[in-house]
Amino acid sequence: MSRKLTKQSTILLVISGILLSSSIFFPWWGMKFIAPQYPEGLNIIVYPYKMQGEIEIINGLNHYIGMKPFSEESFPELKYLPYIIGGMSLLIFLTAILRSKKLLLILILLFTVGGLLGLYDIHRWLVDFGTDLDPSAPIELDPFVPPILGENRIANFITHSYFSYGSFLIGITFVLMVFSLWRVRKK
């Protein structure tokens, strides 16, 4: 059994590195709020480095229930997340160049931990925004935590949380990495 990665696995790794780095430019996660007055829905779309959507309108509505306003400034992650992803991609490329199986194993572990941390981070913010409500707000609401994935109801809004293209690319990256390790194992 060779300690080096096969040619095929190396190619797969290069592809996964490209996919991972390009995920920076795609939305990762989003929420859509739908209400009778907003049948077209209001959006929060999160990229690794920015937020998009009808943020100002959502903030304007959130003040009724005393939710803190969202802005890119309120999420420090957006400043360093692209570098982390960029760094990870470089590590993948390095692994491909060295064709090191051991490094790949470490990378996969790192990836798993990072992914879980990312999910925890989103959850932490959802808890923070949904439970730390201004007690003097005009409409009093029980604290709530929207799910990371799926539907929820807040006042007159139905929220849909979903993962988007960026996270799909990461998923594929992860699968490719595991697959290239598995290919090597088989031999």
Binding site: E54, E56, I57, G60, L61, H63, Y64, P138
Partner: protein
């Protein structure tokens, strides 16, 4: 290769089987339900919720000074746009900009809306209108349905037959209904023929700055000018206007202006006049470049027409113009080509007030005289060039063929139609489909509202062989004239874009402030769901405190950049009320000449907490 072939044939066979077993062939052949011939009238005008009308109808509001916007075919009233009158529903006439535009007038008599045109077709960018009451012209932007500029027209009185827009919106011509001395000076009516003039203005529109202007004026004879139309295609450099009171009567016009057997159509070449102005062939009068037809010859001609004519309309192909004799019950078809030839050959039958008269016979092509049709006023056209003329006295619309003069169809309306408007019916390419009769009387048609009856508009279906009235809508006074435009030609905005360059705009709470300069107070505030913030750094950010006699300017920006969230701002007891659209900055200016406590509040329902969107204006009394 073999694999691919197998795969493809598999898919094809599967598809075929699916078609054979599951396809529904029952909808092949004539569909009875969707056939428009079998639709009831209510189905023809019913626009289900969620769908939108096919046309916008812009109807002049006459002496309401407003423009009414309807959807066709539903005939639903969508909006009233104030143009020449104050309107407290929209705060029009109290904010600084609209107050200045209205120039101290509180009403107007809005006539003859006209769309801006490109190549003789509506381009959906602007709408123009004139004010017969106070001699003004206005332009409305069709992205926001708001008036952008109003100008007063000097030397003229009551531009009734305008606006009429030339093929590429080069000019809007505004002839006068009432002859007056130039500069509105006092002159005895005994000197009417010498001292009075029926001045026509060539109004221009600067699209970049959204400003109207006057290029020049023409001191026409002291007659009344009634209706007009600009040429199209081969006649695009020309325009026609009907006149009455060529008798130059000065009293009891009902009798005295109906004496002459013939009045005139004024035919003029605006390209030639433009050249004259370029060459300095004009007089400088009252600050205007004034052209006197008796001095500056070669661009204006008179054509005799049956007495007291009303409408004159150019056919879509631009080859003819049709005049209707209000008192002489016939429509006359004139030929531009014949007129041009007569002008070229100088075939004149004398002169009137220094303007050459063309021979009636050498310009006229035919007269159309539908039996017992009385009081022909205006003509509109369909996609096949057929003419539709409203009959004021016999209360009907008559369809006829300008090529033969033959009457094709007639439909009664209730009652007394003045103008009518066909779908894009005065452009180079009318749509056919619909015509709307604008009726002056609605006697017995609706629930009574006392002695004053509503007026009415009736929608007539032109898509079938016989014309048919399919909808009737009561309307506010007075539907004078209207234009109908295909809905997809209009592209509105829903929210004003942020204008960071506007020094009066404030988009963030931190920038709100109240500044005092001597006895002037300037507030730069925000309206947002559901509060006013005039100065965020004070104990009560929703309060403005001034001294009696201060000049107060309040700039408000609606920072709800959200569709349909309009805020109002009224000062209770101070006769002030303005509106601020999403993203817009608006300004109100007033002298705080009443001491006391005056609540301020949002007039336009904006949210669940709209009722709480209030504050105070405190005016401290002088000692």
């Amino acid at each position: 290769m073999k694999k691919i072939v197998t795969a493809i044939s598999g898919v094809v066979i599967g598809f075929l089987l699916a078609t054979v077993f599951f396809a529904d062939f029952t909808d092949i052949g004539p569909k009875s339900v969707a056939d428009s011939n079998e639709k009831s009238n209510s189905e023809k005008v019913y626009v289900p919720f969620g769908e939108k009308d096919e046309y916008y109808l812009f109807a002049s509001g006459g002496h309401s000074g407003q423009m009414f916007i309807y959807g066709v075919p539903s005939m639903r009233h969508i909006r009233t746009v104030p143009v020449f009158s104050q309107d407290s529903a929209t705060g029009y006439g109290w904010d600084k900009e609209t107050k200045e535009m209205l120039g101290g007038y509180t009403w107007g008599d809005l006539h003859h809306p006209a769309f801006s045109e490109t190549d003789g077709d509506y381009d959906g960018k602007y709408m123009f209108a004139t004010d017969v009451g106070n001699s003004r012209a206005a332009v409305m932007n069709l992205e926001t349905f708001t008036v952008k500029d109003i100008i007063s027209i000097p030397n003229t009185s009551g531009p009734h037959c305008a606006m009429f827009v030339t093929e590429n919106t080069e000019y809007m011509f505004l002839p006068t209904r009432f002859a007056v001395p130039i500069g509105h000076k006092y002159e005895p009516l005994d000197d009417y023929s010498e001292k009075y003039r029926g001045v026509m203005s060539a109004v221009t529109f600067d699209e970049k700055n959204e400003k109207l202007g006057i290029a020049y004026q023409i001191a026409l004879p002291p007659w009344s000018y009634d209706l007009s139309d600009a040429g199209k295609k081969m006649s695009k450099d020309w325009a026609v206007i009907t006149t009455y009171n060529t008798e130059e009567a000065t009293t009891n016009l009902e009798i005295n202006a109906s004496q002459a057997d013939r009045d005139f159509i004024l035919l003029f070449n605006w390209k030639e006049i433009e050249k004259m102005v370029e060459n300095g062939q004009y007089d400088e009068v009252e600050g205007q470049k004034m052209i006197f037809p008796e001095k500056h010859k070669g661009a204006m001609y008179l054509i005799p027409v049956a007495k007291s004519p009303h409408g004159v309309d150019v056919t879509p192909d631009g080859t003819r113009f049709i005049a209707s004799g209000k008192l002489a019950p016939a429509m006359t078809v004139f030929s531009f080509e014949k007129a041009f030839k007569a002008i070229e050959n100088k075939e004149f039958a004398g002169e009137r007030n220094g303007i050459p008269i063309l021979n009636y016979e050498s310009v006229m092509e035919r007269e159309a005289n539908p039996e017992n049709a009385l009081g022909p006023l205006h003509t509109q056209f369909d996609d096949e060039g057929m003419a539709y003329t409203t009959m004021f006295i016999s209360s009907e619309i008559v369809k006829w063929d300008p090529n033969t003069g033959e009457t094709l169809d007639r439909v009664p309306v209730q009652y007394s139609p003045g103008h009518s408007v066909a779908a894009e019916g005065d452009t180079v390419s009318p749509d056919g489909k619909y015509i709307v009769a604008l009726n002056k009387i609605a006697k017995d048609s609706f629930l009574s509202v006392g002695p004053s009856h509503p007026e009415s508009m009736q929608l007539i279906d032109l898509s079938q062989e016989k014309m048919e009235v399919i909808q009737t809508a009561p309307v506010n006074p007075e539907p004078h004239y209207a234009q109908m435009i295909k809905a997809d030609k209009i592209n509105t905005i829903t929210v004003y874009p942020k204008d960071e360059a506007n020094p009066n705009a404030v988009y963030s709470l931190e920038d709100t402030r109240i500044e005092r300069k001597g006895n002037e107070v300037h507030a730069y505030g925000i309206a947002m769901r559901s509060k006013f913030v005039f100065d965020v750094n004070t104990e009560r950010p929703d309060v403005i405190e001034v001294n009696e006699g201060d000049k107060v300017t309040i700039h408000l920006t609606n920072i709800d950049l959200d569709q349909d969230i309009t805020h109002g701002f009224a000062i209770n007891g101070y006769d002030l009320n303005i509106e601020i659209q999403p993203g817009q900055t608006n300004t109100v200016e007033f002298v705080a000449d009443k001491a006391g406590t005056f609540p301020v509040y949002c007039t336009n329902f904006c949210s669940a907490l709209h009722q709480e969107m209030t504050g105070y204006l405190l005016v401290k009394p002088k000692n």
